[in-house]
Every structure is written in structure tokens, then in C-alpha cells.
Symmetry: C2
Subunit: 152 residues, 2 copies
DNA sequence: GTACAACTTCAAGTTCGCTTGAAGTCAAGG
DNA sequence: CCTTGACTTCAAGCGAACTTGAAGTTGTAC
């Protein structure tokens, strides 16, 4: 089978070689090695990397991607069922994200020119789910957080 | 004017005191100091913090929020025009985000069961805008990136 | 056989939006 | 006065997803 070097794979997949090594360190992809210890990837890895990038776009973390990919053959072509299952679950995820944004948008639309400058009872500022933030690290955009505000 | 301590502001705004100090270090809010060097915030800061959190939800980084807030009075009530301008621009932003997600979703929907397992011409994997990633740091979810893939 | 690009590993750096901790000061109630 | 909790600053840490750099090795084309 024709094998790709890490540079070739990087070019074709549109990612940096450092990213590929990083993915490998996280177990998302695997490589064979030449006698001189250089990585060689089967063609199928190209598809796998594409899948990873697509999943990221849908909003999955690399950890989640890893879990999703565990159900897929590392080498060779995933079955139609594999792909159907993944794409369906990703679409559902997208649906959820879209719904969230639309809700936010609708609230914002109501707000435009509503005169609620005191923000007293403005939907956008109401404590619908003012949960405590746990842990540190960056907060991702579009989280499901909501701002709490009291009467001004 | 009644002033709030940092703890009071934190409770009422639903954020940690450390976050407030951080915002202040970034110039997003300002405080007066007591003779003993403790922060005291005017009530208006509560509104300002809420605005910051709302903007973050819409997807702005703190840097962008800072720029948006520069056009607002630090103290006192923003005018109806201020708020209309901000909420309108944020809504537009949301509209854009929603549109992007919907496009992705539609592509994904087409993909379900389309049998394009080789991913040769699958819309989701096509290099619509395979821009080079500049710089390091974390990549935010829902960026405007698209995966590049060649013929498999 | 040698030049040179592409590869190797490993540690450390980057960005963002904070949090945590140390070491100390202030404010209010009893 | 004394305790206690809330406050102060400053430095360092976190988590994600990589990138960058150093120092050395491999593969290939001439």
C-alpha cells in the first residue's frame, strides 16, 4: 500500500505537521514507521484527519472526537452505517447549537429599541441559568451560560 | 451616590470577584478607591458588567467588548441609541453565526446516507476556504475555517 | 558521497479568560 | 481592642489545541 509521509499528509489534509504529531500523541491517528523511524501513513488516514477537522467545526473537542473515532476502523473505509451514524449525530448537535443562537437572537431582537435601558427585566440579562462556573481555563463561546442580574 | 464593594458587585452580577479585577485590569470597568485602597463601584458598573457578559455570549472576545464599550459612557446610563446600536450589531453577528451553522448543517444533511464514503466530492470536506492558520493559541469553536481535502 | 530538505524528539511557548494562592491590609461587629 | 471576613497585589496556574525551537537523524537527488 502506498504510504504518505507526514509532510504529504499535512499538505493534503491542509493541516500542519505539528498538528498531525499532536493528533497522534492524542491517539486520534496512528502511523507506521520506516526503518529510520519516520512516520508513514496509509491513505485512509487522510480521510480520518478530514473527519477530525469536520468534527471540530461542528464543535467537538479533540477528546470528544477521539471517542467518536473509536467506533470507526482506524484503517480502511468506514461503512456507510458508520458515516450515517456520525453525520446524523453531528447534525443533531448543530441543530441544538442553531436553536440556542436563534433563541439568543430573538431575545436580542426584542431588545432593540425596547427601551429597557435599566435592563431590569430584559430577557437577555435575566438569570435563566446562572450556574456557578466550575474550574478554570478558557470559557468557550456559545456555552450554555446565562448572565445573572438583579434589579438595577 | 451609593457605591458597591467588589463582593457586592460580584454577587449581583453573577461573576467572581477575580473576574471583576481581571476586567478592570483590561480596562473594561473602572473603580474608585476608598481611603484604604478598596474598590468601590458605582451602580452603573453593574449594567456594564451585564453588558460584557451578554456580549461574550454573542461571541465577542474581551478585546472586542472593550472596543464596543469605548463608545459607551463609563458611568451613567447609556442612551437608547447606544443600546440600539449595540444590540443591532450583535444581532447581525448572531445572524451570521446562525447562517454559517445552517450551511454546515445542510451540507451534513446532504451527506447522511449519500454514500460519499470516499469523501471525494463531499461538500463538507471541500476546500471552500482553506486559509492558513496564523499564529498559535487556541482556535475557537465555530470559527470560519473550512477543511481542505484533495481527491482521496 | 555529499548537500539539503524533510524528518525525529522533547520541552517550552502562545492565546484566552479567567482562577488560585500567598502574604498581607481593611472594615465592621461585639 | 480583637476577631473575622472581605478586601489588596502579584505571580503563577489551568485547559485547549497547537506551534516553535533546539539539536540531532534520514532520505533523496545530483
Amino acid at each position: 500500500m502506498e504510504m504518505l509521509t507526514i509532510g504529504e499528509l499535512a499538505d493534503r489534509a491542509g493541516v500542519a505537521t505539528s498538528a498531525l504529531r499532536f493528533y497522534e500523541s492524542r491517539g486520534l491517528i496512528v502511523s507506521e514507521r520506516t526503518s529510520g523511524n519516520q512516520r508513514r501513513y496509509p491513505r485512509a488516514t487522510l480521510r480520518r484527519v478530514s473527519l477530525i477537522r469536520a468534527a471540530q467545526e461542528v464543535g467537538l473537542s479533540l477528546g470528544e472526537v477521539a471517542i467518536a473515532l473509536e467506533t470507526l476502523p482506524v484503517e480502511g473505509t468506514p461503512t456507510k452505517r458508520d458515516w450515517e451514524r456520525l453525520s446524523r449525530s453531528w447534525r443533531n448537535r448543530l441543530d441544538g447549537q442553531i436553536a440556542e443562537l436563534q433563541a439568543l437572537r430573538d431575545e436580542l431582537t426584542d431588545c432593540i429599541g425596547c427601551g429597557c435601558l435599566s435592563l431590569k427585566s430584559c430577557a437577555i440579562f435575566n438569570p435563566s441559568d446562572a450556574v456557578a462556573r466550575k474550574g478554570s481555563g478558557p470559557r468557550y463561546l456559545l456555552g450554555d451560560e446565562r448572565v445573572a442580574i438583579p434589579a438595577d
